[in-house]
């Protein structure tokens, strides 16, 4: 799956797409692939405060749990309720329908430290080498 160029990416495999002062956050195709079949997603309620680099929820597969780290600081304005009943969406459409939260950025500067699509793809390629080695 291609990594949208309009997104920014974290080393922990989250993506964020910013429109105006609001960002939509999800996990990358690589992340969902590593996790396998996702069975449960735990997200904070709207209104919760996020801090860049801090865990704000978990994604569970049958045999693994993984923390979700916030790419930016800000307040959650909306969470994706659909995932409660259809966690499998994360496997099917990680960069689209399976977005996790929408955040109102408190410090747009956070974005500077994130990777663009090209460098993230390179980063992932590295990772895959390690695991296959």
């Amino acid at each position: 799956m291609a990594y949208p160029t309009t997104f920014r990416y974290t080393k922990e495999h989250e993506w964020i797409e910013v429109k105006g002062d609001t960002g939509t956050v999800g996990i990358t195709d690589y992340a969902q692939h590593e996790l396998g079949d996702v069975v449960f997603v735990e997200l904070p309620k709207a209104g919760a405060k996020l801090k860049a680099g801090q865990s704000f929820g978990t994604v569970e597969s049958v045999k693994a749990v993984s923390e979700i780290y916030s790419p930016v600081s800000g307040d959650i304005v909306e969470t994706n309720g659909a995932l409660a009943n259809e966690p499998e969406k994360i496997n099917q459409d990680p960069h689209g329908a399976a977005w996790l939260v929408k955040v109102k950025l408190s410090n747009p500067g956070d974005l500077a430290s994130l990777m663009d699509a090209a460098s993230y793809e390179a980063y992932v390629a590295e990772k895959q080498k390690e695991t296959s080695a």
């Binding site: 079949d37 069975v39 449960f40 569970e60 049958v62 966690p87 499998e88």
Partner: protein, 505 residues
Amino acid sequence: MAAMDDKIRKAGRHTSQSEGLIFEKSAPGKRGIELPPLDVPAVDAQKELGAAQARKAVEGFPEVSEIEVIRHFTRLSTWNYAIDLGMYPLGSCTMKYNPRVNEHVARLEGIATEHPFQPAALSQGCLKILQTLQDCLLEITGMDAVTLQPAAGAQGELTGLLLIRAYLESQGNPRRKVLIPDSAHGTNPATAVIAGYEVENIRSESHGQIDVEKLRELVTEDVAALMITNPSTLGIFEERIAEIAEILHSRGALLYMDGANMNALAGIARPGEFGVDVMHLNLHKTFSTPHGGGGPGAGPVAVKKVLEPFLPVPVLVSKPDGSLALDFNRAKSIGRVRAFSGNFGVLVRALAYTLAYGPGIRQATEDAVLNANYIRKGLEGAFDLPYALPSMHEVVFSDARQKKNGVNTMDIAKRLIDYGFHPYTTAFPLIVPGAMMIEPTESESKEECDLFIEAMRAIAEEAATTPQLVKTAPHSTRVGRLDEVTAARKPILRWKPKTSPEAAD
């Protein structure tokens, strides 16, 4: 390849009768127990308890006869694999023979029937059993004091860390961190956190041993203890264990040992003599008490003298008159980790086991190590051995070779089922990708070990020639691989009756 005689080999097939849920057999008016007639005047619950408190009926409870209950659970039982059926080589679980006499004595009138609150004068038998077991465990571990209260290994771990915390507090500083090797059991980090400590992982060096130089750097004033398993989960003895203890002690930290692998040491070496300060034992492993499909267990904790004042209450004491009693007033105690006197029934079984061997327990250890090394030899060449150091009671292979054909450790484990064996432990320890952790225990005959080796080699062959056959295993069981994903996404955790229990009240 096996000699072409028609010798009966291990059953490949697990045939069994079908059986629904007990609730699906229920019909009004049937029952499996009858009570003697009431010999006092009956009372009206509605009146005695008040309409608000009285319950009309327990809806959704089965109504079945005695023979139906017998058949139901007997049929269910035939769907289980068990030590009684064959080798159960689960690494780090020590699935050894569970002697039947242990079950018998635990059920004796006067043993099973005793109440924890009955007067000490009427409990001398129970207390002597506890005392004798304590003495045996101390002799085997070389420690100074022990509590039998923890209900299982994991609770023993917690008790041990709480003791360490209490001791360090009494020294003025509980400290912040507990060091845990990357090869440790999952319970270790979980326990450390519940005991209020931060976990810092310490990597193993290339041979699978603790990196002593790294340890030297990591042990600071902040470190409360190092939690190790010895022999490690790789089945390898920490050769520099004394040095490791030395480093910790020199910085005021303690050495905690997870006794999960004591089956490799009993009668051979005593943790108390290689620097361990606190350790727990799993009586359901080394001391043969039955796993029973997942418990009950017992996790006694043995300590050095300095930690004794902090042991959970009550502790066993002997009175001037020579009688035994429980002492509840211990100022420094960490308190209770469980109500009453621990899993007494399990302790009884463990003592029966120890008495059966006496000093001969060394022979059991020798046979366990002999079996592990025999199997290691038999499988070398067929499977990849990631750590070459000598094995003790268990050996860890990896699926590296079979991976090339897309066959992983879980597939091989499942295929073992078709060969009439329980799988080994898969994917643990975490530091071995695709781990195959094999612990035969002393309870396996040479013939059973040979059959196991033969089966594993046959599977290695299949993995190379017909991987699909291995990847879709098991083929011989009642049910095939179950859809765990759907089970987790849309959990069904109970049977539901037509009317909910609430409706009945």
